[in-house]
């Protein structure tokens, strides 16, 4: 039907995801909310369950068979992530998600800064890459400046201006969760390192759909969440350069992260254990490992190519609807497409679409500063992943037309 070269067998892929076998409000599920959380393939669901049914045990503790099996599986998960990012195994820390990863970096780094030092973020960041820095900066008398967004892209000239000798940390999202923009992080890493500051990458919205190599980017830290890459919720990753992690103080204190404890003092374990206090989310880590296996099998290059093709088609067709405004670039983007329809609030659009079995997100997408910069309160976001089809996009377009009909938004009243 569609003349695009299709490189993935989507019909077969869809069968890997049990959620698509059901009906929602009488319709087949059209899931366009993967940027909020991705669906889970049977492999991940089954392997997570298998941990609990066959070898549930704590790790690095009991000298019994189950403990050994669990420890091996958990270590394997570390290894899979390390390989996935082109990192060494001691550089991979399991956290609860991107938010905890960024908090870990912020809590460990900001307290080493001096009053008057500067942290540089961007206007398009998710709240999770603003609020931790902002709150700690207040506590330690550190300043924050934001790289401006111009035409849905980071203003690199502005970045060069504000990343100066006072700057100690630069933290930037790789791909925008609202605009779909892919930021030039290699270039920003270079600008940052040229003045001797540390470069942090929020890869929550790029790890699921782009090949990432931390050595190639030359970032000092990189964070992503498991649940957006077909893994379980409550598990995430922080990559950090080994020599930096070695120097940093722990974020959470407690069990597992120690080497020796007396009543007077504690010596900490080596990385990554130093940053993985308490009983880890073992099932989550194992599940994420299998999610990475699944993604690798399909291939990130294939995923990125297919997602880009779908996004291109979606943007072209959405633009044909009078009154639709898209917030994001046409090219060099992911499958995240944000838009508003003149005369219908985003929340109402999402409700009407839901009645057609189409799941999208509406609201401010945890990016209120970006919403302000765009001059809007809210928008709709359709986010594409590799299990979506061209038919899904056609359904989206039809449902939007229906929403316009329900709200009696005629073509004449559009801006």
């Amino acid at each position: 039907m569609h003349k695009t070269k299709i490189i993935l067998d989507i019909d077969r892929i869809k069968k890997d995801f049990p959620i698509f076998s059901q009906k929602i409000n009488g319709h087949s599920l059209v899931y366009l909310d993967s940027a909020a959380t991705a669906q889970k393939p049977s492999l991940v669901i089954e392997e997570t369950t298998r941990f609990y049914t066959e070898y549930n045990s704590n790790i690095h503790r009991g000298a019994h068979k189950l403990g050994e099996l669990a420890t091996i599986a958990y270590e394997e998960a570390h290894e899979k992530i390390a390989k996935f990012l082109g990192a060494d195994i001691e550089e991979i820390i399991f956290t609860a998600g991107t938010t905890e990863s960024l908090n870990l970096v912020a809590y460990s780094l900001v307290k080493t800064l001096k009053q008057g030092d500067k942290i540089v973020l961007t206007e398009m960041e998710h709240h999770s890459n603003i609020v931790p820095w902002q709150q700690l900066a207040k506590q330690y008398g550190v300043n924050i400046e934001y790289i401006k967004v111009k035409d849905f892209q980071l203003d690199i000239e502005h970045a060069k201006k504000i990343i100066d000798s006072k700057t100690k940390i630069v933290s930037v999202m790789h791909a925008s969760n609202v605009l779909g923009t892919i930021n030039p992080i290699k270039e920003l890493a270079k600008i940052t390192h040229d003045i001797g500051a540390l470069f942090v990458v929020d890869a929550a919205h790029s790890a699921p759909n782009m090949k990432i190599n931390v050595k190639d980017i030359d970032c000092d830290f990189l964070a992503f969440s498991g649940h957006k890459i077909c893994g379980p919720t409550g598990i995430g990753v922080l990559y950090g350069k080994k020599h930096l992690l070695d120097k940093m103080s722990p974020f959470l204190y407690g069990g597992h992260m120690i080497s020796e404890v007396t009543l007077k003092d504690t010596t900490f374990a080596d990385v990554p254990s130093k940053f993985e206090s308490g009983t880890s989310n073992i099932a989550g880590a194992i599940g994420l490992g299998y999610a990475i296996d699944y993604i690798n099998k399909i291939g990130l290059e294939n995923i990125h190519y297919y997602e880009t093709e779908l996004a291109k088609y979606a943007i072209e067709t959405l633009k044909k609807i009078v009154g639709v405004k898209i917030y994001g670039p046409d090219e060099n983007r992911t499958g995240v497409i944000s838009f508003n329809i003149s005369g219908i609030h985003a929340h109402d659009v999402a409700t009407i679409l839901d009645r057609e079995g189409i799941a999208i997100r509406s609201g401010n997408h945890c990016a209120m500063p970006l919403m302000n910069a765009l001059g809007i309160n809210a928008c709709n976001r359709a986010s594409i992943y590799f299990y979506n089809t061209f038919d899904d996009i056609d359904n989206l377009v039809e449902a939007i037309k229906k929403a316009k009909k329900i709200f009696k938004v005629t073509n004449e009243t559009s801006e």
């Binding site: 409000n25 009488g26 329900i406």
Partner: protein, 149 residues
């Protein structure tokens, strides 16, 4: 009657379940009592951070009755229609009555089924009103409601 196999599948929605009924859309497109008041006993603004809906309400009491009420708001049809209806509803009502408005009043006025996700939108207007009224009782004796400009 056969039960659906999947708990999420309730089949096609009936007209009764359709939340965009004519009266909601009328209030949304032509909201009543909009704008600000120059004289008011309180003004209060609330927002729904998840979806970006905002409502600022202005209420003027005279002899412990609502004399004038207005609101300024941005947001979805449900939140704005509910503000339009609620401001109609409280006109000439006693302070005590206004204090005791329950969420069912709003849901009944809207006359539609509201799910958990949209409940925050539907009740934003009532939250704004209640918090505004709280401001009054927090700072003023109810027999002596101050006038702000």
């Amino acid at each position: 009657m056969q039960k659906p196999e999947n708990p999420n599948d309730f089949g096609e929605l009936t007209e009764e379940e359709d939340i965009y009924k004519e009266n909601i859309l009328d209030h949304y497109k032509h909201p009543h009592n909009t704008g600000s008041l120059k004289e008011y006993s309180f003004k209060h603004k609330e927002l729904n951070p998840l979806c970006g809906d905002t409502i600022e309400m202005f209420v003027l009491f005279e002899n412990e009755k609502v004399k004038h009420v207005s609101f300024i708001g941005h947001g979805c049809a449900i939140s704005q229609a509910s503000a339009s209806m609620l401001t109609d509803y409280i006109k000439n009502k006693d302070l005590e009555e206004v204090k005791n408005i329950k969420r069912d009043v709003i849901l009944e006025m809207l006359g539609i089924k509201i799910g958990v996700v949209r409940m925050k939108c539907a009740l934003l207007s009532l939250r704004t009103l209640s918090k505004g009224v709280d401001k009054l009782s927090g700072t003023h004796n109810k027999d002596n409601i101050g006038l702000c400009r």
